[in-house]
């Protein structure tokens, strides 16, 4: 069932390098939205929480799983929504109001 450890470590290291490359090119203007967007991506933990919750079968396990699922869901949903709200403000604006004569 389990993936070879070396393979997972390789994935981990290569992903780190990809992360450094992709992100070091972002202009400062977008740092806050980017941080928020990255914050949303680690919301992938929600999937892990679901997988673990499916295996739970005692009260303690259910309680732990509930907290993990709820936290993960808040992270992923809230993270993407707040990032989108920020980026919505950077949308290309329509050109200035047309001259009065046109209306």
């Amino acid at each position: 069932m389990s993936t070879d450890l070396v393979v997972v470590v390789t994935i981990f290291v290569l992903s780190l390098l990809v992360g450094f490359e992709v992100i070091s090119k972002v202009p400062p203007t977008l740092h806050t939205p980017l941080m928020s967007g990255a914050n949303a991506i680690h919301g992938i933990v929600f999937i892990g929480a679901l997988l673990v919750a499916a295996e739970a079968d005692t009260v303690l396990e259910h309680v732990l799983a509930f907290a993990a699922v709820a936290f993960g869901a808040a992270n992923v949903v809230g993270g993407y929504v707040v990032t989108d709200r920020m980026l919505h403000m950077f949308r290309a604006r329509p050109p200035r109001q047309p001259a009065a004569g046109q209306e």
Binding site: L16, G48, G78, V82
Partner: protein
Amino acid sequence: MDTLDTLIRYVFLAAAACFVLGLHLMNAPATARRGNLLSAGAMAVAVVAAVVSIVAHGGVDPTAWAVMVLGTAVGAVAGAHAARTVRMTAMPQLVSLFNAVGGGAAALLAISHVVQADGEALGARVTVPGGLDIAIGAVAFTGSLVAAAKLQGVISGAPLVFRGSRALAVGTLLATLAGIVWLVAAPGQLPALALVVAAPLVFGLVAVLPIGGADMPVVISLLNAFTGLAVALAGFVIDEPVLVIAGALVGASGTILTKLMADAMNRSIVAIMLGGFGTGRGVPSTAGGPAARVRTVTPEDVSIQLAYAQKVIIVPGYGLAAARAQHEIATLASLLEERGVEVSYAIHPVAGRMPGHMNVLLAEADVPYSQLKDLEEINPEFPQADVALVVGANDVTNPAARRPGTPVSGMPILDVDRARSAVVIKRSMGHGYAGIDNELYTSPRTGMLFADAKQGLTELIAAVRALVR
């Protein structure tokens, strides 16, 4: 692995690729939103794939289903509600809260996995990343909560140091490491697990409390990287490569961002984590001395100065964000533009509460993106500016930074003192986070308009309007 499992793995891989592409699209303002939506879409598909996988494997008891559905509903509703209703000025603390729950989820995931395996001997393959995941996730959890509370003002932004706090930090850190070793040696031991949970929770508290409010952006960014790392480790624990990829991506991004933020403030990450900036330890005030005089001006004076200028550069700072005066500054700028004044905004990399925060706030007030200029772009323009209007910015305009030997030395600053004249809207002569006098304020070319940013700008707008009539 059957066909469905293989298919699900490919879906996860596609999602991971979309996260990378999404981050790449976030490089430019024009494509940033699409990038985030791509990332969100990929996440939604991955979640569906995970649910399909759970259903296909079967054997999930009804309580577990109820837990999943209820947990998702509670978390999603709370997260979406907070994200939709937060004021843009309070957004950094919300990001910190989301980071806290993310770190908490990563820790809980590993805790659940260890608890579920009770009795079974877990190998080091699981306990090593598991212990580290719990520890790092727990630090990110309490640390981010403290950071959010400091930004929100629930806890004082001042560095909080109590007797023995440093010893407690070192002690809990050592206890965490000892706990991880114990857990690896004896995976079934509940006390070992308890230690790995409790010690880093306390460490997160005592590590962030002594750090001043000005450094919180750097701390949040660092803790964001921590959570990414914890999620990647969680991926090792449950053997799910997509968590490893996404977590490592965020770990790398958070680290880069943290370094960029610290560089912009001329601070080392280590110095920040050890605390103490702005505690003013033996930092004498260097500006002007007692003889220095400050020239105060009225809104009417300033309105004439602004209205008859050719080029005005606005320097917004945290004071503007705190007073929520971004709409007022935008109104003033468009009034001046109607009179033919060339207006631009000088955005220091750390203006607001996080890098880029000021851009978000100004964008909210419909300031055209093309008017926002960063430090390198705007500094050569100051000598041609008739007026530099500083609203609630302090340390980032202090010329003392160009001299060695002051707490701000070496920090990149906006060359406001090189403009033909400067007007500073500020509530008082109070110090910025660096805790020193700002030599700009005592320059003969500077006029001080003592007011809250919102009130001062409102008066200025009225005065400019009166001129037009």
